[in-house]
Symmetry: C2
Amino acid sequence: MNIGLLGFGVVGRGVYEITGARADMQVTKVLCLEDISLPDAQAVKNFDEILNDDTIDTVVEAMGGLHPAYEFVRAALEAGKNVVTSNKALVCTFYDELLPLAERKGLKFRSTAAVGGGIGWLSELERARRVQKLTQVGGIMNGTCNYILDNMTRLGLNYDDVLKQAQKLGYAEANPSTDVDGIDTWHKVILSANIAFGISLDKQTVPVAGIRNIQAKDVENFKAHGLVCKLISTAKCLGDTYSAYVQPTLVKEGEPEAAVPMNYNLITFLGDTSERMSFFGQGAGRYPTAYNVVQDLVDVLAGKGFYAPYGTKAAADNSEKLTWYVRGNWTEEAAETWDGAVVTKPVSVTQMHAWLKENPDAFIAAIC
Amino acid sequence: MNIGLLGFGVVGRGVYEITGARADMQVTKVLCLEDISLPDAQAVKNFDEILNDDTIDTVVEAMGGLHPAYEFVRAALEAGKNVVTSNKALVCTFYDELLPLAERKGLKFRSTAAVGGGIGWLSELERARRVQKLTQVGGIMNGTCNYILDNMTRLGLNYDDVLKQAQKLGYAEANPSTDVDGIDTWHKVILSANIAFGISLDKQTVPVAGIRNIQAKDVENFKAHGLVCKLISTAKCLGDTYSAYVQPTLVKEGEPEAAVPMNYNLITFLGDTSERMSFFGQGAGRYPTAYNVVQDLVDVLAGKGFYAPYGTKAAADNSEKLTWYVRGNWTEEAAETWDGAVVTKPVSVTQMHAWLKENPDAFIAAIC
């Protein structure tokens, strides 16, 4: 297998290193805008040098971002090259274009590292689908949010202080919005649901609430009630309909989710025979992410394509009613008052996310 | 695929049900000593009726126990039939005979349900081996012990009372020795190490200590120090040597292992690129176990054999020094005293297990 590697950042370098030790695949060209010199591959600055190289059968996209990653991946597929990517935003955003294109061309398209980094999550969904119907997927899918929430919980720190520390240690970006506003988790749960249930979720019907507004006093409230806050994604198959959402969620101390430390992920599926299965590991990082990119390359060599056939479009129905912790201008009747905040009576996911849009300074968390 | 199913107990019935809904495989004969009548399969009381049936290409062993399971499985392989089993005692005990036999005959032999029940653990070790070197495997592999320890910890109950409750609820056998003395975990970690490291561990060099002697006052001691006791297996690849042992282990509250509730398992591998990966799920039960038996059957259909080639024999070297909680007649110098027990200075795993053999009424736990 001759590989054209797009990008030579954290993940790209890891892929280059791991494949360098293998006999069954080699990176022959690397697209990198900086001047680099590599012992075993040619560095190029123009994607066409990879696209028009007929000896390259597989493209690994490790650039991140939507553009030009999308244009490059689409062109690679159109030119008959297999594609492996770790880019969840790309696969989620252009699912309805890239999946049918890969299927039509009979090409292999895989993205295991896009969800859970080093966790073999999408590949395990693929395996599970062979034998059972999956009924639920989701969990803690973003290491940055977990790092922030874990440190706020363990050390009683403020959101801003932990975020700054996380940025200093490389656990959060300078602009942390994609992580703390839940967008990264939103991409991951939509992609997971598409594969688990064999559908294409209408992204606009999947609401997302992030952790940006959480305060130390919220965490104190949770502690006083034996609860721990995590950013949790949920997607369920409810017979012929589906629900899907991302939101801060209060889990009981002692539950597996509550014990997830630092920047780790804990992702779970429920199946009708396996019951609950959860996966704990490094959701990011050079080697864990590159590990799953190379796993995908091994699977491409073995003839494996995408994890599930491209499925029909489906809108999420989030009429499910939950009770919520709300700190903000909640004017409806409350079930309880917790020091400056309320616990609501049952309110649907749809209704609560609509209320949050009108009250963007509030903090909400579903109570498990 | 035509399947001869040996045994029609908890797991066997599950396999019969799940395969009954599939078009690619069917159970055509079931070996069962009781009188049963099945709509889609012939019940037989003599194994020869399966062995000599040339239309049966695959045997599923779901009887449990060593004999006659071993004789039947060996005969099936010798007769050219693929074998899938959930029997950890069988695969571990007769590893050096069954593995080479299956390899020599070019047959598929799989046992994913033997470790972790519904967790795709052995299959994930198989996947991990394709890309990285595994350096450690182990964890909480026995649901009965976890159920007992979890209830002692959460409710402050006595060992005997929790064991009786577990027996009543079906979480423990009438004779619980295989579980509480750690034998089941011992089989599982040896099998895991054999696959992860590509070796055949000398079982006699792998010491095991169980939980039979734990008392409510031990659990009180652990709580007072922020620790939780779990039965944990460990196998490490240390360059050219290996260590492997099973023992009660004290983990810090807040660690993922400490949060494993009820009869769940949490099994972990460390790899040189994936880093830590853990798997949480139902380690037993009809449908979770049958789920992985059927996964194996799908893999047999896809041409997959055992998870790793049969490897060279290796003895465990357990000279690693740990500190230990000991309640018993410990006469060596201690580092600390904890209400009726001691915390030792560093003592090797080999030495502590040897001491335990001389002091069979003592309770020991390694401190993580």
